[in-house]
Point group: D2
Chain length 403, copies 4
Amino acid sequence: MVTSKRLSSPSRPLAVGMIGYASMGAAHSQAWRTAHRFFDLPVVPEMRVVCGRTPGATADAAHKLGWQSWVTSWQEVVGRDDIDVVDICTPGGSHLEIAVAALEAGKHVLCEKPLANTVPDAEAMAVVAARAAEVGVWASVGFNYRRVPAIALARQLIEAGRLGRVRHIRAQYLQDWLVDPDYPLVWRLRKDEAGSGALGDIGSHIVDLAQFLTGQHLVQISGALDTFVTQRPLPHGSPTWTDGSEGSDGMGEVTVDDAAVFFGRTDEGALATFEASRFATGRKNSIRIEVNGSRGSFWFDFESMNELHVYDGTVPAAQAGFRRILVTEAEHPYIGSWWPPGHGLGYEHTFTHEIADFVLDVSAGRQPSPSFADGLAVQRVLAAVETSSRNASRWTPVQGAGA
Amino acid sequence: MVTSKRLSSPSRPLAVGMIGYASMGAAHSQAWRTAHRFFDLPVVPEMRVVCGRTPGATADAAHKLGWQSWVTSWQEVVGRDDIDVVDICTPGGSHLEIAVAALEAGKHVLCEKPLANTVPDAEAMAVVAARAAEVGVWASVGFNYRRVPAIALARQLIEAGRLGRVRHIRAQYLQDWLVDPDYPLVWRLRKDEAGSGALGDIGSHIVDLAQFLTGQHLVQISGALDTFVTQRPLPHGSPTWTDGSEGSDGMGEVTVDDAAVFFGRTDEGALATFEASRFATGRKNSIRIEVNGSRGSFWFDFESMNELHVYDGTVPAAQAGFRRILVTEAEHPYIGSWWPPGHGLGYEHTFTHEIADFVLDVSAGRQPSPSFADGLAVQRVLAAVETSSRNASRWTPVQGAGA
Amino acid sequence: MVTSKRLSSPSRPLAVGMIGYASMGAAHSQAWRTAHRFFDLPVVPEMRVVCGRTPGATADAAHKLGWQSWVTSWQEVVGRDDIDVVDICTPGGSHLEIAVAALEAGKHVLCEKPLANTVPDAEAMAVVAARAAEVGVWASVGFNYRRVPAIALARQLIEAGRLGRVRHIRAQYLQDWLVDPDYPLVWRLRKDEAGSGALGDIGSHIVDLAQFLTGQHLVQISGALDTFVTQRPLPHGSPTWTDGSEGSDGMGEVTVDDAAVFFGRTDEGALATFEASRFATGRKNSIRIEVNGSRGSFWFDFESMNELHVYDGTVPAAQAGFRRILVTEAEHPYIGSWWPPGHGLGYEHTFTHEIADFVLDVSAGRQPSPSFADGLAVQRVLAAVETSSRNASRWTPVQGAGA
Amino acid sequence: MVTSKRLSSPSRPLAVGMIGYASMGAAHSQAWRTAHRFFDLPVVPEMRVVCGRTPGATADAAHKLGWQSWVTSWQEVVGRDDIDVVDICTPGGSHLEIAVAALEAGKHVLCEKPLANTVPDAEAMAVVAARAAEVGVWASVGFNYRRVPAIALARQLIEAGRLGRVRHIRAQYLQDWLVDPDYPLVWRLRKDEAGSGALGDIGSHIVDLAQFLTGQHLVQISGALDTFVTQRPLPHGSPTWTDGSEGSDGMGEVTVDDAAVFFGRTDEGALATFEASRFATGRKNSIRIEVNGSRGSFWFDFESMNELHVYDGTVPAAQAGFRRILVTEAEHPYIGSWWPPGHGLGYEHTFTHEIADFVLDVSAGRQPSPSFADGLAVQRVLAAVETSSRNASRWTPVQGAGA
């Protein structure tokens, strides 16, 4: 006789519908499946439905990623009564429409970055999110790298005043997947779908990190955008999210930036430099950020994501140096839920932490971070880069960031 | 009207029962939950039952880790008809009894390392496993670090002859959790339960890696074991797996090694050095291995587990150097199932890979690797270290490894 | 009876007079003493006279640094018949007068960087140098970091086409000696003497390295200068090279930049970013430069000056990575004259190489590198940074660098 | 009219005679030329005479290295009245005879490592040195790596108790110049001249470092020596220091070890591991040493010789980590005499420091460090390794190191 005790279902699920199932969708799915296994969440996420445009592929994704069902209409997800959270993993051009509909339908929203492809879209989203927040419906944007434990630790150090007055922020996000001129003209290289190129896709992350880590806002920007390879082969009938009519072979125009360089000043007088590129040969997903303050510094490199290097400027010169903190101790942010010291985490766990934080905040009835307002702030910095770039790199004020 | 398509259950599950649910159990559970989400497996693991000794804690673990049910008798798991795989995550002293029973009951077995606490136990297990293999019942031992993609890549390089004739193997596994003399006398510090200390717990991993990477076997050993802190406070009534009678406060004797140092020669004449310690202050889970061959070398450090450093000795001197390969490309072992280049993995994924490989092998009717024979080979090296240590560190032949 | 053979003096000395004896003077002296001991030079430098303004200190310096005699008038050095080379180690404001006088007196000139404090000064110097070159009198500017063997190797790689088309240059020169607001107002912080701050002192090096390494010229610049601490304590009657009237205690105004950030485009379309700061807490003399090309990349960090990290983009993805070349092989630039592989060099050897190269070029009757024209080119980039900074960071053409 | 003041000769020279002028001779010469330029020495070394066996080559060396004269008889150097110091840079087999003669002639002696090729030789030297010390004639052995500033800093940390009780010493000295089996049978590969192979040549350095850094002595050893390539081509009539009769082509036997591995225990119970090899492909001059204590740890790698990595185990876990101290501050050992922070030193400066220390000690009438007794202590450890290796790697007591 089998005596094993069958477990009942968890009492309070949080029903999730996810729109989009590509790379971000896969990462989010793993996080939705995993978060409650490691973090003490008051509610257990239930992966109720995933939405894609192509039935077969969507069904496959649902099966592979662990969603209970699938649909091809995001409107249907938004309209369902049994959905608590809408998780938006589509390209930026579609965020406004989906997020607004979801919020207005009373669903909490987690939206992938960048918040939108344009500042007006982002503004509209922030307005709707602010209104929704008044009735306890929450919106958050997915800057997942904030959830690297080493980054969260760095934020703690700055908040505790350990760096003193911040003088320099130095951030780079380097990739190299466009070095080959024969790489095809995918949707990320078309302004109509992607909004911008390296600037919005990866530059947005380092702008958010800079503002998140220091708690300061960029108030003016000088920048330049470059497109090194301006014509690329059209992809062979690859489906795109929006309605793309290009299906023939041949070459098409790259309408976004390959690389963005810019510097800025913050509302507290720090000088910040940024570089985002998809042409940095040998750099795959190299995110580096260093902050120098009057009392100390830190630097971080995502290629060694379990480390934070901290310099304490108050130590006597003979003993001073950058201390390589292996951010794998139970005392470190997020780590207490994971493995023993020295057993590092990977990329995917940034999403697990994002989902865990989101669920905790939503359950507690408080604004998750980063908010749509934070996402809008990033968007306005990106817009200032574009404006400056079009305007001979002149200093350009960041809208809404009163200096 | 809701039009979402509900997914049917996967057609061919592989039913798993896990014995033990502590740290290794948590890691295995995450892997059982995850493997089929990223790897194309012909069967989908079903986490049917977990077994522990204490009802409440076992129920909690089942709930947290995602097992459908729980029991307190491993014999019950082994005896069930609806279990295909028994995953043994208990301390080494219990492996023999459970593994043999499971294999004889026709269950595939995945057994945590070390295979056993003694060579005779390991031998008995290997015999039973060999017999089971004849009828398509498979056994494997969980040396998970073989599944670090960088390690798997290093193995490929050696197999392809890229290092030439191997001259040196240099391996260290360093931790520091025993530096504090007030750390209590947990079961891992008692020979009756743990078999040995740093030697079996972590030294076993680097012995296995050395043999796996080079494809060679250690044939003789000179070694020494040290216990730096010989008395430690007894833990306060902490439950242990076997029947421990010590419950009072006070001090108890540490009966295992704190550190093990040894060197050896392989069947092909390489010289290998090993060090395993729990007293290496500042080293949390530092696994390092370097192999030098006549044509090249590599080194690996688990603290940067997504990297392999490879030296090609055939390159002209002016261009030669250790190449830091970021092992995050689709072409690298295991990586094709994960994220884009540069988005690294963490500790837990070694288990995901282990489970995926195990399921693939078992499904295909072939011996998973490492086998119990491989686990026995490691055990015999450890035994040679102990013998040598007792015998003034004299060279000691490794039993069964004909030189 | 003593049978030892006394060595005669070398037959063909090259008589050197050095103006200035502070930190650069000490470095140059060590190089003048050392170069012919390790490099095969056709003539042996003879350290005939050193010039300073204060008799006692100059005599001490002469004694300590190994100069045969000393004077307090640079005009006297320039006017002597028995001097072949004038080595100018004074602050930038005095370079024009000394260098022109020396060249017109037929002395070869090695002049510390920056070439001058202003573009007009630098232009005048370049004109005189060009005229002198016609009669075999040579002038060179001391960008010593070109002589780091790893940098010289990187230059060879780019010249050989190993990086393909250069897309990105990324350079930083970071120090932190001004973080303390009580650090006094030394001459380097006063525009009248130093010309500029971090920009000219250290920014000049990375601009020169960028142009030297790639063989390209910056044609337009957008930049910003910041002075974080605008008032500093006056030093206590410290003598300065020019006639400084400030001797009292109290505070004085910092009239140069603490930090400079800028980006630029080269005549071949590369995008370059630069940052020079004396406020980068924890960074002592951190010079980093990375170049990304269509076929490969390299990066260099002066804190590990004996290494160059090279990425070959033509290697299959599974084997690609940055190769850490230990630049200590006989096949590497300069190294054949030094020690066996793995026995690295230090900062001072950049000067030994500079002197050796200078002596070899002058002896062979050919233009040493970098020329005053090269120094002028750097100066014009720095001027463009200043112009851009004053002009809302607008793109500013680099004078003379036809785009 | 020339008004320059000619400098008089320094009043109190210290006259040096050097025996041998090969690679060590070149390094020593640079140090003798340089030490008083950077360090305040009470006497100025005068490089009076160098001694070699071949007249032409010796004359060339004298000229190149800056010695005033040359001879071909070391006895003549030792016998001269105008020599204060004899610097012995010959192979180990000749050390006894020269050093004893020099000391008995009242000359201070600086002798390259290893002190001798055999323990009896080293013992005899130590006896003579002790006797000489009684009359103020001093002897020292050239373990130059003690003079790496980072190593000297590490010694200070241990002396100050910052590491607590030392548990582990982990040292490696790896080279790869013998990987090619066609590398010829040079004198370093013949026991009659070199005494031993990797063990004495490079293993001696790490044994000395281990004892110097910890202040402890190895009291017992288990070790093994291996010779991977036992036959090598004879060099073409290359002159050797002793009278070598092999001049023909053909193969000869390698009579020393290619690699040495050993572990030991110190008089205070630390466990030490050592590896010295000339077959570590890709490792050029890789000296690594790590010490773990109850309160902290450090590690050092000569490939980054200007860094020391220090772990403070008393720091809370969330902030702990290895601190990378750039050992280039004025407060660090030796550095005050050199360059500003961040401007690192190289290999050669270990000799400059050695000479400066030697001159300071000898001038002050005190024993320089390391003494011949220290050199003998190292020699006895090496002998214990050889004995253990011949004796099945059994634990072997280190003679004279009472446990």
